[in-house]
């Protein structure tokens, strides 16, 4: 075989040599194609694996950790949540609608293939600078794609994030998360076992779309990427809705040994992974695979990423049951092969063997790289910039109005009003608060969900930034009245072969791992998306954290908005922030620098536990995580829903900008009656938790006094209008 063949498929020369060694012979074209996708970063995590081992993945409530289609965490009463997040960045970069839509479709399949009914989706999005036609095109396309798929299939899209930064200009991020609900007894797995059991393809027919999608996801984008548009799949949410109902009905019958979504790398990965997990082999007759067009080669069938397909291994003799259920839903279910005991992936076309590979060679024997890492030159330089020079250059009102109009802080209503966030009639806390909450019907419980990552923090200090992302996600859940349970992550970075990028990756993962360990939120799965670069320039490192939590009693759920005039406003955890990495510094001074405050994880855990306990005891009327934009922005956000004003008097400060707009971990803004405030303050004091009484809910303006002058005095109506209109105006 000539070297250009495997090189064009993304394999390195040493990897080709490894293939030859594993097979004991030269591979044929089909075989090398299969190795190329299975050994792509997207499928086998060859560079990330050693780092991913840092994550805590176990805990008393973890029913399924990494390695399956999705993670599972117990919520009691025989029920569990199933959840996973995945990226669809490169497809969305060149075909935003279908790229995002199929990202949603793929993650939903990962959840229902476990036997769970999906109850919510979230989408964490990153785009380039907003004042750019291409960005607006991508935003409109991605949001419409998420809406088009999620609304039609009927799963509420309840949350997520959207941030804008020039580093994502050519390489936007679309990270889709799905959460499902399952009975412990109904868990299905992606496993092929039991010699002689049939292998069935169910759902959509196989076409020529999406060939080499997984490989495409594992290379940098460039001018030529537009030509790879054929690697982008096309979604059909109607087909997936039928597939969802049929699969859940089938799994309930108990006829299934294993079932897996045909996602990235299609038939190839689902077959190999199922066989490998079951220590089995598989023999497939490709001529039996239902296809959309004639003349497809075995190579095309194995590499197609046509959507809305699943691979099912039922118990022998249950084929007719499978067909009957799929027939009811108007879907095809066809036996294409059987499980074997010899551990080989044996593919035939009309009875002739066209490929023969040990399943484990494709999975367990995939190469693992320990890439070199080195601290980038920018790291120390940015740390050492003196930030005290960036004091308020304008009056406080102006700064606050500008921050609220920043697309990163402004209301995201323009996005979520396009998503059906209420279908299912279980959305108890709607998008727009710290975390959304979904009711678990038949119980008093709710599932709180959020995604979080401040990539500017991660860029400035990957370790601290990674830990901060986890801590903030947990704070968001606590603000909804939920106990954080577990994490799925989507690790979006540049080219890991560059030492400074690999350093970012490694440091960020160490931060995520330490925070997950401290906050007892194990990582149950996720996805790695590397090579997010355009013409050699990497995105800001973005380890998106998806977190689920449990609201034990929905009567104790909490939102961020102030509820009643006269309530006392408290700041719990920390008061002043730092300008390092702040939205204020970036937006008003055009500077992204500073030495981030480290998150004290033990203190973070203590403060979170304290706030959650106060919420559950009914002492708190509102709770809001004080994050991007600092204290003034958090206060303003809490004013908006009820259109209530506040009067605050903050302790004296020699740096007003840091006090009002500085950012810090471990900070909550809560409101409570005067009587409850007193007991909250005294209890905090006993526990060694810092807390300040800063003002009251009153009037129709946000008034914040610092050093005996009103630093901010602006009507809530004006602030809200600016905050609400910013995104629609910027995206018009």
């Amino acid at each position: 075989m000539e070297a250009h063949v495997w090189r064009e498929m993304g394999l390195k020369d040493n990897e080709y040599a490894r293939v030859v060694e594993l097979l004991g012979r030269e591979p044929n074209y089909l075989e090398i194609g299969i190795f190329a996708v299975m050994w792509s970063e997207h499928c086998c995590y060859k560079t990330s694996k050693p780092i991913l081992r840092l994550f805590p993945t176990e805990g008393p409530a973890v029913l399924q950790g990494p390695g399956e289609n999705a993670g599972i965490i117990d919520i009691g009463d025989g029920q569990a949540v199933v959840f996973k997040m995945e990226s669809h960045n490169h497809p969305s970069a060149i075909e935003p609608y279908q790229g995002a839509a199929t990202g949603v479709g793929g993650i939903i399949r990962d959840v229902f293939t476990m036997g769970a009914r999906p109850i919510a989706c979230l989408d964490s999005l990153r785009f380039g600078a907003i004042d750019n036609d291409k960005t607006r095109h991508l935003v409109h396309g991605v949001v419409a794609g998420i809406a088009g798929y999620g609304n039609a299939i009927g799963i509420p899209t309840v949350g997520g994030e959207i941030y804008f930064h020039p580093s994502y200009q050519g390489n936007p991020l679309v990270n889709a998360m799905c959460v499902g609900l399952i009975e412990h007894t109904g868990i299905a797995k992606g496993i092929a076992a039991g010699e002689g059991n049939p292998v069935m393809v169910v759902g959509a027919r196989t076409g020529r779309d999406g060939i080499h999608g997984a490989t495409f996801a594992s290379v940098e984008l460039s001018e030529e990427s537009e030509e790879k548009r054929s690697a982008v799949q096309v979604g059909d949410p109607f087909m997936e809705k039928l597939l969802l109902e049929a699969c859940l009905e089938l799994i309930k019958t108990g006829a299934v040994v294993g079932i897996q979504d045909m996602g990235a790398a299609g038939f190839t990965s689902s077959a190999c992974e199922m066989a490998s997990r079951g220590d089995s082999g598989m023999e497939l007759e490709l001529a039996l695979v239902p296809r959309r067009e004639e003349g497809m080669t075995p190579y095309e069938i194995m590499l197609s990423e046509s959507q809305e397909r699943m691979l099912v291994v039922p118990k022998a003799g249950m084929e007719a049951k499978v067909t009957e259920i799929f027939d009811k839903w108007g879907l095809e279910a066809v036996v294409v092969g059987k499980v074997t005991a010899d551990g080989m992936m044996r593919l035939k076309e009309d009875g002739v063997v066209v490929a023969e590979i040990p399943a484990k060679a494709l999975t367990d024997n995939a190469p693992v790289y320990h890439n070199p890492d080195s601290e980038p030159e920018y790291y120390q330089r940015n740390k050492n910039i003196d930030l005290s020079q960036f004091e308020l250059g304008c009056d406080g009102n102006q700064a606050l109005l500008q921050l609220l109009a920043s697309p990163n802080l402004a209301s995201k209503e323009w996005v979520y009003r396009q998503y059906d966030h209420q279908v299912g009639a279980n959305t108890v806390i709607l998008p727009g608060s710290d975390a959304a909450v979904i009711r678990v019907r038949g119980t008093a419980k709710g599932i709180a969900v959020t995604t979080d990552c401040n990539s500017r923090y991660v860029y400035l200090d990957p370790y601290k930034g990674g830990a901060l992302a986890v801590a903030e996600a947990a704070r968001n859940l606590v603000c909804a009245g939920a106990k954080p349970l577990g994490v799925t992550d989507c690790l979006n970075f540049g080219n890991p072969e560059k030492p400074d990028i690999f350093w970012q990756f490694k440091q960020a993962c160490m931060g995520v791992a330490d925070a997950c360990r401290a906050l007892q939120t194990p990582v149950t799965g996720g996805n790695v998306s590397l090579y997010n670069e355009t013409n050699g320039v990497a995105i800001l490192p973005t380890p998106t954290i998806g977190m689920v939590g449990l609201v034990e009693d929905l009567a104790q759920r909490m939102t961020q908005d102030f509820k009643q005039v006269g309530d006392t406003i408290l700041v719990i955890g920390a008061l002043a922030g730092s300008l390092a990495g702040s939205e204020y510094l970036s937006l008003l001074h055009g500077v992204e620098a500073g030495d981030l405050a480290a998150v004290d994880l033990a203190y973070e855990q203590k403060v979170q536990d304290f706030v959650l306990a106060q919420i559950k005891q009914g002492r708190i009327n509102s709770a809001h995580d004080c994050a991007e934009g600092g204290l003034a922005v958090a206060i303003a956000e809490s004013c908006f829903a009820g259109e209530l004003g506040v009067k605050l008097s903050l302790p004296a400060s020699d740096h007003v900008a840091s006090l009002l707009f500085g950012e810090a971990p471990t900070r909550f803004v809560v409101s409570a009656t005067a009587a409850n405030s007193a007991s909250i303050l005294s209890r905090a004091n006993e526990l060694g938790i810092k807390a300040w009484q800063v003002g009251t809910v009153q009037g129709e303006s946000v008034q914040i006094e610092v050093n005996r002058t009103l630093a901010i005095d602006c009507s809530v109506k004006e602030l809200k209008q600016v905050w609400r209109n910013a995104l629609p105006d910027l995206l018009a």
């Binding site: 419409a144 809406a147 609304n151 039609a152 299939i153 009927g154 059909d236 949410p237 109607f238 087909m239 809705k241 039928l242 839903w329 108007g330 979520y416 009003r417 396009q418 998503y419 059906d420 966030h421 209420q422 279908v423 299912g424 009639a425 279980n426 959305t427 108890v428 709607l430 009711r439 019907r441 929905l554």
Partner: protein, 230 residues
Amino acid sequence: MKFGVVVFPGSNCDADCFHAVQDLGHPVEYIWHKDLDLKGSDCIILPGGFSYGDYLRTGAIARFSPVMEQVISFAQNGGLVIGICNGFQVLLECGLLPGAMLRNDILQFRCQDSWLRVENTSTPFTNLMHAGQVLRVPIAHGEGNYFIEPEGLLQLEAQGQVLFRYVNQAGQVTPEANPNGSVGNIAGICNATGNVLGMMPHPERCVDELLGGAHGKLIFQSIVAWFERR
């Protein structure tokens, strides 16, 4: 009284409708789109969703489902039928209700609260409401821009067939309160005989204060009250 919820391939509010009436204490059963009988239902609900993917045109394929023949003759014999969102679109396509549905004038899907003014309280669907009452009911659709030609509109208005209109919180009909461009701010209509209701907003999503409101209950309770008085 018993409710039946029709399930088309692609329906996605079927379970929500099922639970809404079940939670109110009424018997309810799903009716598969290939079923040829209505299982003794006294009121048929055509739920929201994307029946047949809304391919071709919203509701255009669902009207040919085998069950629709039964639904049509049930309605023609005075049976109660309520079509919500996609169900409304199906009722328009099969001719049980007049008019047609266009894409929202803003050309985007909209999921948000809407305020509805009750325009006629002497129907099976509104008899527990008072005239001019303002209900808060969420919408979620991309094609809810109701259209009917001027003569048809006059007739609808004259015969009291407009049951719900989009208004602001104060109950006024304004262009800003119209989320999709519907003619006359129309959110829901009934047929001339008053036994078939089609509406774009989702009453089944607001039957519990936990979900932010319970105005939707009034519609289901009205149906039951009407049926029991009959």
